[in-house]
Amino acid sequence: MGKLAAAVVRRTGQGGGTAAPGLVAERLSPAYLYDLLAAIPGGHALISGTNGKTTSAAMVGAMLEKDGRDVVRNISGSNLTRGLLSELLGTTNWRGRLRANAETAGVFEVDEAALVRILPRTRPRAVLLTNLFRDQLDRYGELDAITRRWQAAIGESDGSFTLIANADDPAVVHATESHRGETIFFGVEDGTAGEPDDWADATMCPICGAGLSYDRVNYSHLGHYRCEECGFARPRPRIVARTLESDGLAATDFEVESDDETISVRLPLPGTYNVYNAVGAMALAGVMGVGGAVMRRALEEFAPAFGRAERVQVGEREVTMLLVKNPAGANEVIRSLAGLEGEQDFLVLLNDKVADGEDVSWIWDVDFSRLRPGSLVVGGRRAADMALRLKYAGLAPARGSVTETNLEKALEGALARGEGPLYVLSTYTALLDFRSLLARGSAVREFWRE
């Protein structure tokens, strides 16, 4: 039934049909998802957290494939339980049984809320927790509440999986404390000395509530912290990235050190946040039995996931798509852009659909003042809010700025205003719309087929 729905939705062109067939199957048999997960012969891993799920999952998938294994994963970033189910249905035969060989492994990203529902009902080989930032407060609620729910869900599960967690995030570390099995921490030894900004998300000790002291901050509340009151502190990570060197938006060089080896990596992605994704993915792939040399090759050939500094050619222009959806992620994207030479042309798209977050106030926590726009076009359902935000950020582009809610006209305006690379900063659903607009000119493949 779900399979039929997938075919119908894909054929009728209602988006990619990534979640609808799962919705049908979920209604018919809620336990079916867990039966399918248990049937994956090479085991499966779950990846959760606010930012970096899609990229981390894509990296782990690439490493496993490079290792010669078949991989099942929810490729579209449609990461609710029913999206996951839809993806699994795509790999079942007509009887609803999984088509897989003995080596097939599953890698699934699940959002922060879905992890709590899924974890007690399945037996993954490993669970990777990336980070926790404020994100869509209207949908997910406060950070402390998510941390508590994670901790409870981890405690209720049988602890048979390896937990891989970001040592640099105090909220994540707190959530792991209920785990009965093995925990592998990963981290980044970089950053600047000093304290996090006031608006960083989790700088109170999760145990006793005192302010955390930081030796180093990588970004937002990620860094090397300890509580002077109760002794809660960053655990020593078993796998660590260091000597980070950025090559603009093109690449980041770094070394990864673990118990037995040190690997130099040139990752074709910008930003410290992607180094976290890479080192978390390496820790996870290690648990799944992938060797260091294979991991390195997979990372160096890594193609960006949907909207993660993904480049396409539109006529004469190189267009780089940068998904922004919450302050921590957006600030890191802007930090990468601020490292570029000269002025850039920007198209900034803000939507307020459920998948974007209906509350657009988060844009006021993003430091847009670091951008140096040559031209600026603002679009999306909440273009007027974004235009206002950029006005207060003091951006005054030489080649002018335009607000245009119609996406096609916004793109035309952006293309007409410059000659060099165009950078598109966009929320999730606006980027979907933007991609299908480009696809009509067949500049990109539809994302769910990649």
Binding site: D144, W199, W364, A384
Partner: protein, 247 residues
């Protein structure tokens, strides 16, 4: 003239991008050639009663709100109350609004004492009761204010406080009486974030005006080009199907 803005508990009460309110007031002073300074007032800070012209406090997560509530019972709280008596303007949003009141009674029945500079009390009806989440428009002094609300607590006004406005779309103070926010002297509390002030420039200028005329009683704020501000205001109204009132 120079105005000094105090950002109360930026390390605790910062969850709904209320920095935008601080940024808005700062820019609107700069654009008018009014000298302006923004200072953080973190937990444990003490200051003179005439040090700040305007103080702002935003929303916080439960635990952070608890920490701010505790600190308000110490010296910092006394300083804030003395500043209000001396005529300082205060804007509290969401959790910050709740803490301007007498107390916040959380879902477990625990009491978080507030500053008591607004005659209001907030009670959380229990975690099983749905939060007030969504776009909101209210009528304020014959004009519209727009924003986004996201609160579990229900706020009730005592006789000393007047409502800031009447709900046109959304929930407001308690999702029952159709009232939103509270005003008492120069202290204003509201559930509207978004950020509130940038797309409600008339309210931003109302705060600046109250602060400015304390320095020069005849002071008139210069007019600014607010096309982008009203553009965002009207776009928000259109989404809610509410007509703009006033001007």
């Amino acid at each position: 003239m120079k105005l000094v803005l105090g950002y109360l508990y930026p390390e605790l009460m910062n969850i709904y991008a209320d920095r935008g309110n601080v940024e808005c007031l700062r820019r609107r002073c700069e654009w008018r050639g009014i000298e302006v300074e923004v200072r953080a007032i973190k937990a444990g800070t003490t200051f003179a009663a005439d040090e700040f012209d305007i103080m702002l406090i935003g929303g916080g997560q439960d635990r952070q709100q608890g920490a701010a509530s505790e600190d308000m019972q110490e010296e910092t709280g006394d300083c804030i109350r003395r500043a209000v008596e001396a005529g300082s303007v205060v804007l509290g949003v969401c959790g910050g609004y709740q803490l301007l009141g007498h107390r916040y009674i959380d879902a477990d029945g625990d009491i978080l004492p507030g500053l008591g500079i607004l005659d209001v009390e907030t009670r959380h009806p229990g975690l099983e009761v749905i939060r007030c989440i969504g776009n909101i428009a209210i009528e304020w002094e014959g004009e519209t204010l727009v924003g986004f609300e996201n609160h579990g607590g229900r706020t009730y006004l005592g006789p000393e406080a007047k409502p800031l406005g009447r709900v046109l779309a959304g929930q407001g103070n308690n999702a029952r009486d159709g009232l939103e926010g509270a005003v008492q002297g120069r202290v204003i509390g509201t559930y509207l974030h978004g950020s509130l002030l940038p797309k409600n420039p008339h309210l931003a200028d109302h705060l600046l005006n109250m602060a400015a005329i304390r320095h020069e009683s005849e002071y008139e704020l210069a007019r600014l080009d607010d096309k982008a501000e009203w553009g965002a205001h009207e776009a928000a109204l259109r989404m809610m199907g509410v007509e703009r009132r006033g001007r």
